[in-house]
Symmetry: C2
Subunit: 316 residues, 2 copies
Amino acid sequence: MATLKVPAHVPAPSEDAEQLHKAFAGWGTNEQLIIDILAHRNAAQRNVIRKVYSEAYGEDLLTSLDKELSSDFERAVMLFTLDPAERDAYLANEATKKFTSSNWVLMEIACTRSSHELFNVRKAYHARYKKSLEEDVAHHTTGDYRKLLVPLVSAFRYEGDDINQTLAKSEAKILRDKISDKCYNDEEVIRILTTRSKAQLNATLNHYNTAFGNAINKDLKADPNDDFLKLLRATIKCLTVPEKYFEKLLRQAINKLGTDEWALTRVVTTRAEVDMERIKEEYHRRNSVTLEKAIAGDTSGDYERMLLALIGAGDC
Amino acid sequence: MATLKVPAHVPAPSEDAEQLHKAFAGWGTNEQLIIDILAHRNAAQRNVIRKVYSEAYGEDLLTSLDKELSSDFERAVMLFTLDPAERDAYLANEATKKFTSSNWVLMEIACTRSSHELFNVRKAYHARYKKSLEEDVAHHTTGDYRKLLVPLVSAFRYEGDDINQTLAKSEAKILRDKISDKCYNDEEVIRILTTRSKAQLNATLNHYNTAFGNAINKDLKADPNDDFLKLLRATIKCLTVPEKYFEKLLRQAINKLGTDEWALTRVVTTRAEVDMERIKEEYHRRNSVTLEKAIAGDTSGDYERMLLALIGAGDC
């Protein structure tokens, strides 16, 4: 469930656009006004505001935001304002660049979005970068990472509930055999993780657990410092229990010496309209402190206010 | 250009449906009537006829066709009647089955359809088989074939004209180096062929030709009997000169001792609404005989009439 709070009576898009334009005008910027508007409109509403704004003032709203805002607050507002598919395309592109490359972000986008959402990301990627997502991922990765990530971002998984228990059993066995032989990058392991539907994969991993006495991710911890194994475990988490994956990401981002704003902003802006309620619940349970409290304790100013608004703290 | 001929005045779909129903009624079947209707309606029109037919007579038109027709004629009518995305999903599924498996058909569908068409095939595959295309392809292939085919069927290539000449040069060099080392299944070779846009790939292969003195497919003929090399060459042909690929397929299907109806029917039914005019031109040039003549000489009866109608012989 989403944490985004949209007021019962939403002003007309033209009014929102005008208010935003005012917030940028004159000396200083009215950050609170920006938060009050953008952090309380859903994706469809933000798209219309952007359209109306650019028609009225001859400039993309994102360009204006870029001129007026800075640092973490800017990134949070900018990312959230983007349409979800465009935002993911942006994050994925960033993740293939030399200095911001991140296999985790690519995996996260590929595994926690629905099949159609992921396809929309690929379309948005074409439109914005004049290239395909998979070609950039393939070009910027090598070895085992490429073997895993290219099929992950290219997948169009079946999303029905139909599962095949016989197949689940036989593929659980394949996974177990390959993992026992430490063949973590085996093409059969990659095939199963990258092509099966989430429901089918879940059945397979349940069989794994039942038949072999422990969860697959425990067996994948053989070498706790192996980065590829870490990514494999995260992939499995994203595909089966995404809220636990995001909780851990938030926990590590916040507990780090010097908050990891990059990750914090990404999780909050991408999940606020999806499953942030569930992630907050998970966070509270695991950390004995609410996510609101944790974020408030670790961030400040407009950035803090933006994040708290997105995770549904306070009214709108 | 398509060869499909649609009459200037098309009867109402309800009338077409009624005529088809009559064609099936009583003793014997009126095959010519079936050809006159179905081989002269475009995909959108056939879809409406199918819908109207099933509403009026409580049976899918394809089921009726299946009851009334047989052998090669049935396959041709059935394949052509299907919506293009559904038809490709059907052909692709067939190509992953034990006794009808064909890596070539999978490659052909992946490489000669546009990115959006291929995505529609993947959607149709979900709807019909409750699985994803790539999961069946991955499950039913192994080794080098899997390495090539899974990314091919999962691709969503960029389709704009933008190309990067620097990249074309550097990737031409990579291809040349790998081919010189006989590393035909190298992951870089696979990456370039499966992710780059057709325009970009074309630029790369032009550089290859210019810089190294001959076409890549000549270098890929090192071992003329190697099946994987054959498939690689066909992949490159499909991506760059599909009409030449289809011409050769037709030539081999027709010249074979005992026509290869399976291939002949596939090419005619899948290309009649796309680029059959171009393929016919290519065929005539290469064989010094028109495709009409070649098909007429090699097939007979309703099957012959159906194919000739689809390649635009005679009036409608």
